[in-house]
Symmetry: D2
Subunit: 267 residues, 4 copies
Amino acid sequence: GRPLLFIAGPCVIESEELIRETSLRLADMAHKRGWQIVFKSSFDKANRTSFNSYRGPGLERGMEILARVREETGLPITTDIHEPQQAAPAAKVCKILQVPAFLARQTDLVHAIALAARDNDGIVNIKKPQFIAAEDIIHAVNKCREAGANNVLLTDRGTMFGYGRLVNDMTCIPTMQAMGCPVCIDATHSVQRPGGSTTGGNRGMVPFVARAAVAAGADAVFMETHPDPDKAKSDGPNQVRLSEIEKIFEQLSRVRELITEFNAAAS
Amino acid sequence: GRPLLFIAGPCVIESEELIRETSLRLADMAHKRGWQIVFKSSFDKANRTSFNSYRGPGLERGMEILARVREETGLPITTDIHEPQQAAPAAKVCKILQVPAFLARQTDLVHAIALAARDNDGIVNIKKPQFIAAEDIIHAVNKCREAGANNVLLTDRGTMFGYGRLVNDMTCIPTMQAMGCPVCIDATHSVQRPGGSTTGGNRGMVPFVARAAVAAGADAVFMETHPDPDKAKSDGPNQVRLSEIEKIFEQLSRVRELITEFNAAAS
Amino acid sequence: GRPLLFIAGPCVIESEELIRETSLRLADMAHKRGWQIVFKSSFDKANRTSFNSYRGPGLERGMEILARVREETGLPITTDIHEPQQAAPAAKVCKILQVPAFLARQTDLVHAIALAARDNDGIVNIKKPQFIAAEDIIHAVNKCREAGANNVLLTDRGTMFGYGRLVNDMTCIPTMQAMGCPVCIDATHSVQRPGGSTTGGNRGMVPFVARAAVAAGADAVFMETHPDPDKAKSDGPNQVRLSEIEKIFEQLSRVRELITEFNAAAS
Amino acid sequence: GRPLLFIAGPCVIESEELIRETSLRLADMAHKRGWQIVFKSSFDKANRTSFNSYRGPGLERGMEILARVREETGLPITTDIHEPQQAAPAAKVCKILQVPAFLARQTDLVHAIALAARDNDGIVNIKKPQFIAAEDIIHAVNKCREAGANNVLLTDRGTMFGYGRLVNDMTCIPTMQAMGCPVCIDATHSVQRPGGSTTGGNRGMVPFVARAAVAAGADAVFMETHPDPDKAKSDGPNQVRLSEIEKIFEQLSRVRELITEFNAAAS
């Protein structure tokens, strides 16, 4: 029965200026509309297609920038962790620690993130790998719980469908909720078109996927946003234009209210 | 901006009694709630797993029974057509003529159904085969249009996802609507689990899939229903209990109203 | 321990001249090399992408042409059947009656083909639909056996892998052989790239797929061939040039001999 | 035109005794039959389903054990690397450094392995992730080449096919060879059935998959083996019994000879 949680921000920390512009805008929305928004941006893109692609400012500088966002805007922060030793320092700044989909089977990483979340009253957000069934994410959830981290959010970012395409199986949402975890839809990465020299995407489908997932019961929505996505240094084709995000979030909130009403009537 | 169209009824004409019970109940809902409901039941299940499975009463007797439903309840009728010569007689009774998913590539069948729809002011409902992309259903739509049938409804009944499982790609909905056709979600067959000695299914997922699709913009919902699904002669595991369908339809109507409001604001 | 069976010919009967040229060439190979070759060509392409695509000469004229091939070359004949009433006339000419993949779930068609095969000492060749697991073809096999047709050949023509692409699961071969049926690899249709305004394909992959399947134990190879595939009226992108087929068949025969030797040593 | 390369050994270093038994047996085969065999075993299973599963002896102890195998048997060694800092120490012992499939998109890991291979005259073996097309492995190959590692082997270990199942697309083999790299078939992990509380598998399919791949042109075969697979601490259901591996390798060598002969005739 809780309102929707939004996780939003630019894919990667391209510059302090970009982070400031987007976080202030999102904070403004959060205050004005009473929305729960968590600010997300990556300090390192560890799995770019090419060795020479832009990766980000790195852990230390990234955390400085994100800590400033937290102070200036009051928004909680989240970022993705790629190596076990990054978990503890990131947990000082981030309320939610994200396990990347490709790495969600790596025991040491999941364990380190779970310990850092436990010690900092944080939340682990496990992205369901593109290559496993919803049922099987329970093993990563259990690794967290065994480490004492009980606040686990599960995210659907799509499942591989043949080569070069992902699909969102909406039945994943109730399946993962049955594990006792809230579920997030990552509408940005779900519309990626992996393959070729740079990963493509289909930004126009983001609102459809997000609305469908919220109607199917999703508790949170992850959506990357950029003032000028076509100039973004990563995931440009699937980030939503910052000027359009408020309207999308408003519609999703309305769908959420309806689903909450249905669920209240059922119980 | 139109209200949702519901297509509902038992999978197959098991008996006149079953058809009468379900159609009266659905007609009662339609009148009381102001819903558009089309009554669906099959006169022949032409692709059962086993040679000895129950198939239905056949074309002639089936049409008699369905014509009586139309007279008694006022509900429009739909059924699925398996051979070209069945199209014209069925079109005398049925407002919507359904092209089965497995057969949607068969030119003669699509052509015959299109001609029968054209001549009887009817609608062709093409089920997107489980094995083609939404983009590629345009060829079946064109075959209808070339035959003079301009009222074409497109239905997503899931796409094969590995062996023994289907998935609904919600991006199919806007993709097929871009062809100028309304789109229906077949929530019943989408949750089938094909394979094994009888086709299984997961009835519990039907409301989630239907709500997601309506939120993604679907114009119609196809849902098979039976007073006692566990005793149904076909598709038992995925038919919805008749006593539960009114509540599901009500929720879907509410989601539809919200989406209609969003679309009105956008235009 | 039997030598490989080859099924070859142009996709569709484009003209008597084409059929004569290809069948004489194949017969020449069969006699010279001692190969078992069955001549295949379709009298009707019943599921073309477009309504206006070339379909073939039809049943009656098609059977005349194929009967002449049989007389002139001595090659056994096969063709694909799309409607139940076509089975009996086709069985007068064809040793092998092919059930198309899209239609392999249609009970009446499978039944009619099985009866025609039984009555004419023929063989039913069921193409495993692109949308079912190898395990599940047993139901179509049982429909044949229940009708008294005991000579059933099963063909793998690929399984849908996402949108627009097929994959050959080589484990299908032993799985289907375990049903007591010999298994054929359709190397032509397996490399189709369905989707778009005409079905594409990747002819260059045909020999790799065929060799892999024969090494995995396939008993027969289906390969469409045309003197000038780029001018073919159907399946041009995946038919093999007639001038190249002898070398491919020779290599496949050599692989077969090796596998036969392995199997003999094992028993 | 080179003979097949075999990569074999128990999945994980369970004990020195197991490693000694299997490596001596494989070395004996290599000497007696003139086969190229590389000994493989993992020092750490970093992505087990459960936190409490057996993981292995770790890097340091693992390298001691593998160094002893190299000295005692003369077999070249390979193992899989999970963290960048493991690459350099492993390269002192291992001729081939394996990039795990789940991690093949992690730039830092690929880079560290490539540098270690370059500095030790070694080979990088990149396992194609289960979630990417063969075409797209070029990006990982390029990351290696940019780091100065020019000996890159590419391995197909199957591609996700729906949930809980993998398939080998044999057209991957020529596609990856076109990148200038030899290609290996990992017949062990290709027959995994991921999902459930422990990963399952289908050992009986290993020889079929391996034969098919070698016939399609694969240059190397990866096959895990254990004296008593049902008691193995990892991947038991898909490891081959040590007593059966010689016969399988012999058959694969025969298939390879035939393909080499075909290729020689073609050039």
